[in-house]
């Protein structure tokens, strides 16, 4: 695919590296000629120097025929402008990095009205990843769809699990949960189960649902051990803010230590439920006073890699049982830090690059179709497809129970997103025009939502 990346700082560079390794035709654009040159020597990409938010430079980069443009300059406004220009000039898909949380609404609007395909926020991605690590035990694998609104969680059914020997149609009543079992791996087989399906020990089950519903579900099947009740965060940046919000929502007590007084006040205003401490997170006595010995989890999110590593080493020493998460920006040292056994390492730019590579992979599989996104599950044995329902058809405006028997086998309607609200489908759910629908299937070759009908 022909891909243009505007802005090749940390995040842009990582994205360029990953995409060029995947074999795409990458063109990079940046104001800083040295940056562009260095990258074009390291990678097999085309380099263009100039302001990526001007039409001339964009045309020179070939946006008229590009399949995708990714704008990752330091300015949100520039990124949005760049994407709008590219979209109008003919680029098929555009992705903008937008960090400022104040633009959240505007982004949704631009996405709907002006055709921005995706917005990325490295800080938000990092926060979501950390929250996931803290919220779920390590036995669970997680994938997200529909801009993080829907999660697919995979776990193994153990002999003690209440799920063992349970038929799926009775699951909702017995456990009082609202998630959907959409894939079961039994031995080497990958199955799409129906209501009569009975789970047994050793099955690897994937359920789909929102984060909140999933956490209730795991509570009901006693798989929630490992979930932390409180969290100490050092550093009060954007990541810290997003993370605190997510943790508070799922009932975790949050304590943030931040050096800057003014930032503390901002945080205190935005996060009334969190405890905000104004002080130096690398100060031993302060950490002791705030209870580093007893906290269940410790997240170091300061802006200095070295400081984060040192704090995690200290936390490990005084509180070996706590879950540790360390943010590191420079990827070169990841191996060394990994050897030090400091819990999970989070690298925001790497996460963002990974997210985009996933998107691009899905995109190259869905050229010329109505598929909004495609995710491969279990090494490509199953696919989750995200459709936007554009116009009315045999599927729309009627309860799903009426479609019984009309669907192809091995297809399941896993999620309906109606005006941004995620609904786990049941017999009475309806698909309306404009909804996003996630379909999970082991078949391939779908290009339109109506393809799921016989």
């Amino acid at each position: 695919m022909q891909i243009v990346i505007v802005g090749c700082g940390n995040v842009g560079g990582s994205i360029a590296r990953s995409l060029s390794k995947e074999g795409h035709d990458v063109t990079i654009v940046d104001n800083d000629i040295q940056e562009v040159k260095d990258l074009s020597v390291e990678l097999d990409v085309m380099a263009i120097e100039g302001n990526g938010s001007t039409l001339d430079v964009l045309l020179q980069a070939g946006v008229q025929t590009a399949d995708l443009l990714i704008a990752t300059t330091e300015s949100d406004e520039k990124n949005i402008l760049c994407c709008l220009l590219a979209k109008k000039a003919g680029t098929k898909n555009t992705i903008a990095r937008v960090r400022n949380p104040e633009y959240k609404k505007e982004i949704e609007f631009i996405k709907e009205e002006l055709g921005l395909s995706m917005s990325i926020n490295p800080e938000l991605s990092a926060a979501a990843e950390i929250a996931r690590l803290l919220k779920f035990p390590t036995a669970i694998e997680i994938d997200t769809f529909a801009a993080g609104k829907v999660e697919l969680l995979k776990f193994e059914v153990t002999s003690e699990s209440p799920l063992s020997g349970m038929a799926l149609k009775t699951m909702h009543k017995k456990l009082n949960t609202d998630v959907l079992v959409c894939i079961v791996e039994r031995g080497t087989e990958t199955l799409i189960p129906n209501g009569e399906f009975v789970l047994s020990e050793g099955d690897k089950v994937s359920v789909i649902g929102t984060g909140k519903k999933a956490s209730l579900f795991f509570k009901a099947i006693n798989l929630n051990q490992g979930k932390v009740k409180n969290c100490m965060i050092v550093g009060g940046g954007e990541t810290s803010f997003y993370l605190s919000k997510m943790l508070i929502q799922s009932g975790v007590d949050v304590k943030i230590i931040e050096r800057d007084k003014k930032r503390c006040e901002e945080l205190a205003e935005a996060l009334p439920e969190a405890i905000i401490i104004n002080g130096d997170g690398s100060d031993k006595s302060l950490l002791g006073e705030e209870g580093i010995e007893s906290t269940e989890s410790f997240v170091s999110l300061s802006n200095h890699d070295e400081e984060n590593v040192m704090m995690s080493i200290y936390a490990k020493k005084v509180n070996p049982k706590a879950k540790l998460i360390t943010k590191v920006h420079r990827s070169a040292y990841e191996d060394i830090i990994g050897d030090m056994n400091l819990g999970s390492i989070i690298n925001p730019k790497f996460l963002t690059a990974e997210e985009i590579v996933k998107y691009v992979r899905a995109m190259s599989n869905t050229v010329d179709s109505d598929i909004e996104a495609l995710y491969q599950i279990n090494q490509g044995k199953a696919e989750a497809l995200e459709f936007i329902v554009k116009d009315s058809s045999a599927l729309t405006n009627k309860p799903l129970s009426e479609l019984n028997g009309k669907l192809k086998p091995n297809v399941i309607i896993a999620s309906i997103i109606h005006k941004g609200m995620v609904e786990t489908p049941n017999g009475s759910s309806k698909i309306l025009e404009g909804d996003r629908v996630v379909v999970v299937t082991t078949e391939t070759g779908f290009s339109d939502i109506s393809d799921i009908l016989e």
Partner: protein
């Protein structure tokens, strides 16, 4: 220095040369000549060696600029040494030094010959001789890159070391695709030339070999009289294609993309065409007396200047007999050469433009000592690094010419011969003045001079620094 990857790439290069060597074998089958067997044997040996050497993948994929430089210069030396062997075995050129001279002259698209009687050569050898012109024009490694990836993402280092010009850019994001497009355009133009020549009633074999040497701006001819052996219609076709091949091939990509206007806006191409036109007009006036009409004088003047400036080296007239001013103009265009990114040699028009602009800036700096000015090219500011590169290139070029002239002078030929032969070799042109003029050749030089001239040809084709890197101790040091 990652020696194993260099070994690997050199082996791949050898494999490709083995394939190229099969082409003359096909020719020998058509013309039922025995020489084909010699080419076949050399080809098989090269294939065996190349396959053996590339059997083990390099341990480390590390590939930086210095590996790029070393690989490119060693590849060129290697293909020349191997490509010369068939000439010796077939007996076409008995001395190995002479054979290497001829082959290097071919690959570097110089077109200088040590043969006193070209016409005695077999079809098979003639084909190989002219084919080296063609493949050397666009570059051997560029060709290989279009077919197989050599060293992953660091292919750019190879392309930079092999392609002429102060600043090598890509046409499309991937090196491999860029190489494919370049060779695509090159082959396309070659095809057009072959067909045009056939229409002008040139025999099939001549059409092929003439096209090869014209497209590569090489200048190996089939006849002792060079292009004088063909009709003026054929000469006119050749003039057009020589001029075309002196133009940056990257610029043709603009035409393919439908931006014809942008093509003529490129300052380098404008200057190149302007120099050609001015040179042709002045020489026409100077040599009017030697010919029966202005038309004929212009025909020969423009042929000679196009041939020299595009560094091809064909001739239709013995310009050694022309007035001194005409000869001086020709020697100047020898130094300038064609555009960057063309198959031509010389210091390149774009470098000349940048040098003049640097002088302009220096002058403005003398009158306004605190002035800050950016040198521009096609209205884009040029990096100081590029300007520095151009200056050091020019100095290195001058030193190379001076030192080589000193060594060649040991043979005690007249100054004009010694000096223009070096200029002609370093610029990959072919003929010089005096004894090495259009009717002369390089056979009288001693082996020592020939080796110096061989070095000059390679240094000229690879733009000096890749060759010098080989002799720089720091390149070979462990750390």
């Amino acid at each position: 220095m990652n020696k194993s990857i260099i070994r690997y790439i050199l082996s791949r290069v050898l494999q490709f040369e083995a394939v190229f060597l099969l082409l003359p074998v096909i020719v020998s089958l058509i013309y039922k000549e025995k020489d084909g067997i010699c080419f076949l044997i050399v080809s098989l040996c090269a294939l065996a060696l190349g396959t053996l050497g590339s059997r083990f993948l390099p341990k480390s994929k590390v590939f930086y600029a210095r590996e790029g430089f070393v690989t490119v210069s060693l590849s060129w030396i290697l293909i020349s040494l191997v490509g010369a062997i068939p000439f010796v075995i077939t007996g076409a050129i008995p001395s190995y030094v002479d054979a290497v001279f001829e082959t290097v002259s071919g690959f570097t698209t110089t077109g200088a010959s040590i043969l006193t009687d070209v016409e005695a050569m077999s079809y098979t050898c003639m084909f190989w001789r002219c084919f080296t012109n063609w493949i050397g024009g666009m570059g051997v490694l560029v060709f290989i890159m279009a077919v197989v990836p050599l060293s992953g993402s660091h292919n750019m280092h190879l392309m930079k070391a092999e392609s002429p010009g102060p600043d090598v850019g890509k046409l499309v994001p991937k090196v491999k695709d860029t190489a494919k497009i370049l060779y695509g355009m090159y082959m396309g133009l070659t095809g057009v030339l072959i067909i045009s020549l056939l229409i002008a009633k040139v025999p099939l074999f001549d059409a092929f070999v003439l096209s090869f040497s014209t497209m590569g701006t090489g200048g190996f001819g089939r006849w002792n009289a060079s292009l004088g052996a063909y009709s003026s219609a054929v000469q006119t076709i050749v003039i057009i294609f020589m001029i075309l091949c002196g133009v940056n091939f990257n610029a043709y990509f603009l035409i393919i993309k439908g931006k014809i206007k942008d093509f003529f806006k490129i300052e380098e191409i404008r200057t190149y065409l302007l120099i050609l036109l001015a040179g042709a007009v002045i020489i026409t006036l100077l040599v009017r007396g030697n010919y029966s009409s202005y038309g004929e004088a212009f025909h020969h003047a423009s042929f000679q200047i196009a041939s020299i400036m595009s560094t091809t080296g064909f001739s239709t007239a013995d310009f050694d007999l022309w007035p001194t001013l005409a000869k001086t103009i020709l020697v100047c265009t020898m130094v300038i050469g064609g555009c960057a990114g063309a198959t031509a040699g010389g210091i390149k028009v774009s470098r000349l433009l940048l040098l003049f602009r640097t002088i302009g800036r220096e002058l403005s700096h003398l009158t306004h000592p605190r002035s800050v000015r950016k040198i521009r090219m096609d209205s884009q500011p040029v990096l100081e690094e590029t300007i520095k590169g151009v200056q050091s290139f020019f100095i290195a070029y001058a030193i190379l010419v001076i030192l080589s002239t000193i060594i060649v002078s040991i043979d005690n030929f007249d100054f004009q011969t010694s000096f223009t032969s070096v200029i002609s070799m370093a610029g990959n042109i072919g003929p010089g003045l005096g004894m090495v003029g259009p009717t002369g050749n390089y056979s009288q030089f001693s082996d020592c001079s020939k080796i110096v001239l061989i070095f000059d040809m390679l240094a000229g084709r690879l733009e000096i620094f890749p060759m010098l890197v080989l002799f720089y101790a720091g390149t070979w040091r462990k750390s």
